[in-house]
Subunit: 200 residues, 4 copies
DNA sequence: AATGAATGAGAGTTCATTCAT
DNA sequence: GATGAATGAACTCTCATTCAT
C-alpha cells in the first residue's frame, strides 16, 4: 500500500523537517510558527518532530548550529592554508556571505529569527558566536603582527564590526528584494572597505 | 482612599510605563515578558497599560519610534550645520553609539528585542529604518561627489555595512559586559575604520 | 448589563469550583476529567480555575484537605470531652461515616478518586492520613490502659483495620446504590463489631 | 540474527510483561506509566505488548483478575473442606493477606493502583469483586445459622467491613515499611478481632 | 482615570496504538 | 511472532485583552 504522502520514504525525515523549519520560520517568525505548521510543511505528523528534536527551541538552535559549525570548521581547516592576513580576512567575508547566497530564508532565520528566542540567544548561541568572533580577531591580530594591518585598533572590535557589517548586509538583503548574486557582489566591496580601513 | 503605591502621582504614567518596559523587555525578552510584568514594574494595574498603548506590540513599537525619531531629527537638524561628509559621517557614528551609552537596556531592546516581533519589524519598523539608512547613504553620496570618498562603492551598501557594524558592536556590548564608556571609545575606532575604508 | 451567566455573582467562585469538582471527579474519575469539564460545571472560564488553584492536582488536594482537616479538628476538640475509650471510638466511627452520609460524590472522591493521583497520595495525603491513624490508635491505647480493651492487639493495627473497614464500607456504598441513611445505620453495627472485638 | 536481549527466549513473553507491569505500575502509578516503560522493563518492543494484551487497561485488569480468580477458586475448592464458619473465616483472612506477603508491589497494585482507572474499577472489576464479597457473606450467614455468629449484623456488611480492614492493612503495609512477615502476623490479630466481634 | 478579576482561544508536548518490515 | 518508527488526537496551562466597578 502506498503511503498517504508520496514524498515519504526511508530515513529522510530529519533533513526534511529542518528544511521545512527554515521555510516557515522565515515566513512567519519563530513565535508565530506553530510546531504543527512545521510538521505540515515537512509532511510529517506533529509528534514526529519530537522524535528528532527535543523542543521547538532546539529545532531553531539546530538550524543555527549547523551553519556556524560549517563556518567554524571551514575557518579551522581551510584558512590556515591561505597566505597572508588580508587574503584570509577577505575569504572569511566571502564565505560568510556566500553561505547565504541563494538561501534567503536561511539568511533571515540566522539574522532575524534567531534573536527571537532570548533564552536561546543568550544561553546557547553565545558560546559558538564568541568562538566565531575570536577566530576573526585572531586573523586581525596576525595581520597586525605581520605589519599588514594598523595596530591602533582592537582586533576584537574589528571582528565585532566586521561581523556586524556582514550581518546587517545579509539582513537587509533578506528582508528586501534579495536579488540573486547581490550578496556575493557585496562581499567584494565590503572586503575592500574593511581591508582599506585596516591598512597601516 | 490612598493609593497603594506611594510613587504614583499625577499624569506621569505613560513615561513610567515606557521606562518599565525597557527594563523588563531587556531582562526577559519580548515574548517572555507578560504585560502584567510591565504593569508591576511600572506600579500600575494591568488595564492601565491599555489606556496608553493599544497593545503589547505597540508598546515595543513606541520604544523604538521614540529613539529613531530622535536620531532622525538630529540628522535632519544638526547634520546640515556640519562641514564635510567626513565630519558628518563621524558624527552619525558617534551619535548612534552615544545614544546607547549608559543605556544598556535600551541598547538591548533596539538591537535584539525589536527583532522579536516579526510583524513589528516588517511592517512598522522597516520604513523608519529605511529612512535612516538613506540618510546615511546621502552623506556618503555627498562625500563621493565632493571627492572625499571613493566612488567605486555603493552608498547604500556602505550605509548598510556601517549600520550593521554599529548594531553589531552595540549588540555584543549589551549582551556582554557592557563596560561604561566602552561604546563611546569604540565610536572613534569605528569612525576611523570606516573613513579610511572610504578614502579615495 | 447582566452577566452572561446569571449564576455568577461576587466572590463565590472558589466554593463553586470546589463543588463542581466533587461532582465531575466523582462522575468521571480524576484523569478522565478535563479542567474544562470542571470549568463548565462551575460556570466559569477555564482560566479562572487557575486563579484559585495552582493546578488540577491541587484542586483534588484541596478537596481532600478540607475534609480531613475537619475530621482531625473534630477529634482534637470534641473527643477529649467524651468519657471513656469506648464512647470515643464509637464516636470516631460515627463521625467518619456521618461526614459522608448524603454526600455520595464526596465519599467517592475520598475513597476512590484520591488514590488516582499517585503523587498526591504519596507526598501530600500520607502525612495527614498518618496523623488520623495515630489519633485512632491513641484512643485504643487509652482504652487498653484503662482496662476497657484487650491488650494483646497492636493499637496501630486496630486503627488500620478500623479505618480500612470504614473506608471499604464507604467505597462499596458509593460505588453501589448509596441508599440514604445506610451509612449512618452501618456505623452502629460496625462500632458494635469493633468494640466487641476489643472487649477484654 | 541473535537477539539484543539475552534473557529473551521461547514463549515466556506474557508472564514477563505481567511481572514488569506490576513493578512499574507500583513504582509510578497507572497513568504515569507509559506502555513503553512496561515494554522496556519487560525487555520487549512496544508493539509486542499488544500481541498479548488488547490495551493498557487490559494489562492492569489482567493483573487483578489473575489474583482474584486465584482467591475465588480457593474459596470454591478448599473452603468447603473446612469445618465451621469460624475456621473458614479465619482461613479467608489468612489467604487474602498471605497472597500478598512478600509481594509488596502486587499489594500496591491491588490496593491502590487498581483504583486509578475509574472505568476499569466500575465496569470490569466490580463483578468479580462483588462475587468475592458474597463468598465471604455466605460464610457469615452459615455461621449465623449454625449459631456460631451473632445474628444482629448484616452478613454483607460484615463482608464489606472485613474486606475493607484487610485492604486497609495491605495498603498501609505496602505504602509503608512493608516489613517481612508483618502481613501474616497481622492476619492472626485481625481474625481474632473479627471472630470476637461476631461472637454471639 | 484606574483597577484587576475574569476571560477563552490557543499551542507545545505526550503517548497509546498501529502496521510495514 | 516481533519490532519500533510514525502517528495525531487530546489536554493542561498561559496570558493578552476586556470591562464592570
Amino acid at each position: 500500500m502506498p503511503r498517504k504522502n508520496g514524498a515519504s520514504r526511508g530515513g529522510d525525515k530529519r533533513p526534511r523537517i529542518l528544511e521545512a523549519a527554515v521555510r516557515v520560520f522565515a515566513k512567519n517568525g519563530f513565535h508565530a510558527t506553530r510546531v504543527s505548521d512545521v510538521a505540515r510543511a515537512a509532511g510529517v505528523a506533529d509528534g514526529t518532530i519530537y522524535l528528532y528534536f527535543k523542543s521547538k527551541d532546539e529545532l531553531l538552535l539546530s538550524l543555527f548550529e549547523d551553519r556556524v559549525e560549517k563556518l567554524l570548521s571551514y575557518m579551522r581547516s581551510e584558512l590556515p592554508k591561505l597566505e597572508g592576513a588580508q587574503t584570509k580576512l577577505r575569504r572569511v567575508i566571502e564565505v560568510q556571505l556566500g553561505l547565504l547566497e541563494g538561501e534567503r530564508d536561511l539568511a533571515e532565520v540566522l539574522t532575524v529569527i534567531l534573536r527571537q528566542s532570548t533564552k536561546l540567544l543568550k544561553h546557547y548561541a553565545a558560546p559558538k558566536f564568541t568562538a566565531y568572533l575570536e577566530a576573526i580577531a585572531t586573523v586581525v591580530t596576525e595581520g597586525q603582527e605581520a605589519g599588514d594591518f594598523r595596530r591602533d585598533v582592537s582586533p576584537l572590535l574589528v571582528a565585532r564590526a566586521t561581523w556586524g557589517a556582514l550581518d546587517g548586509i545579509a539582513m537587509t538583503w533578506a528582508l528586501g528584494r534579495a536579488e540573486r548574486g547581490a550578496l556575493v557582489r557585496s562581499a567584494g566591496q565590503v572586503a575592500d572597505l574593511v581591508l582599506r580601513g585596516l591598512r597601516p
